[in-house]
Symmetry: C2
């Protein structure tokens, strides 16, 4: 089981990035995204809308006490992977990480507490360059699933996109 925690969400300023983190989590094979920071109904609604249309399973949940959540996940057998550009390069750690089936992935907000680095079983960088929590999560999950996530199917979708060389084809199910 793969779950994601997005730290320190802020209203308005983070809404689109957090939405994109959630959509990547869903599209690339995680089953749930938690977020801490400020509770945001419109973030939750936009994710729930996508699930309603394109299927699941996926859920989003607000959790104020993020450090406690991480500790609890750790106690219940999840390995904690914190994505940070300061961590060890994914290409040098992914084989180790793949040995575990329950992974709790943390992606940062602007400022990440030192305790998160300590609680993490793996602090992992997707390049040592600044880019985005959205792309870091995508590349991490892509490596974890060996690219098979590109073919994942979803249940209870109301629509399905039929790939086209040109234009758009959306099939109702």
């Amino acid at each position: 089981m793969i779950e994601v925690l997005r730290l320190s969400h802020r209203l308005l300023r983070d809404q689109r990035i957090s939405t994109h983190v959630a959509l990547v989590a869903r599209a690339f094979g995680a089953s749930k995204m938690y977020y801490s920071g400020t509770k945001d109904k419109s973030l939750e609604e936009s994710v729930i809308k996508v699930i309603g249309k394109f299927g699941g399973p996926f859920s989003i949940e607000y959790e104020k006490k993020d450090i406690e959540l991480i500790k609890n996940k750790k106690l219940s057998g999840f390995k904690i992977v914190h994505l940070t550009m300061f961590g060890k390069l994914i290409q040098n750690r992914i084989n180790n990480i793949k040995r575990t089936k329950n992974i709790f992935i943390i992606v940062g907000g602007e400022k990440v507490e030192g305790e998160v680095y300590k609680l993490a079983d793996f602090n992992i960088a997707i390049t040592s360059q600044p880019h985005s929590e959205v792309s870091s999560l995508a590349i991490f999950l892509d490596r974890y699933f060996n690219g098979m996530e590109l073919d994942f199917k979803f249940s209870d979708a109301k629509v399905e996109i039929i790939p086209q060389d040109m234009g758009k084809l959306l099939k109702k199910i």
Copy 2:
């Protein structure tokens, strides 16, 4: 040569997503990002700041007439790759795309004109699910460079991150 065009940038609303698209473009091996829509000094400044600190080569340029820009790039020998969830799956097209060295990658704004689909040599989907232009660009470039982009080095950087199992180490150069 790999260049990126981010369509229809809007002030405030798109600032962080467009910044993340630019940072992914840079970190994953593109040499330039154009953007259309509204000219945005603070977007440009935040990207230039990263280049100044972490190195290049990379540049960002505003271009109001995006369709003309695409046509000109096509005339000068670039293959046009438009990333859209309605396109053909990357895993079925990447080998074809790899044959060409000059690629002009287009990522959308909220609404993409039909002409973009027609001008594109390849309309490419990174999954047929909604997620993000940030993650789509990252996965596309990752596939194009066979993962080698994770080890790219940059010139004229003022700092270098030294990967750590815990904590942060930033070396001045």
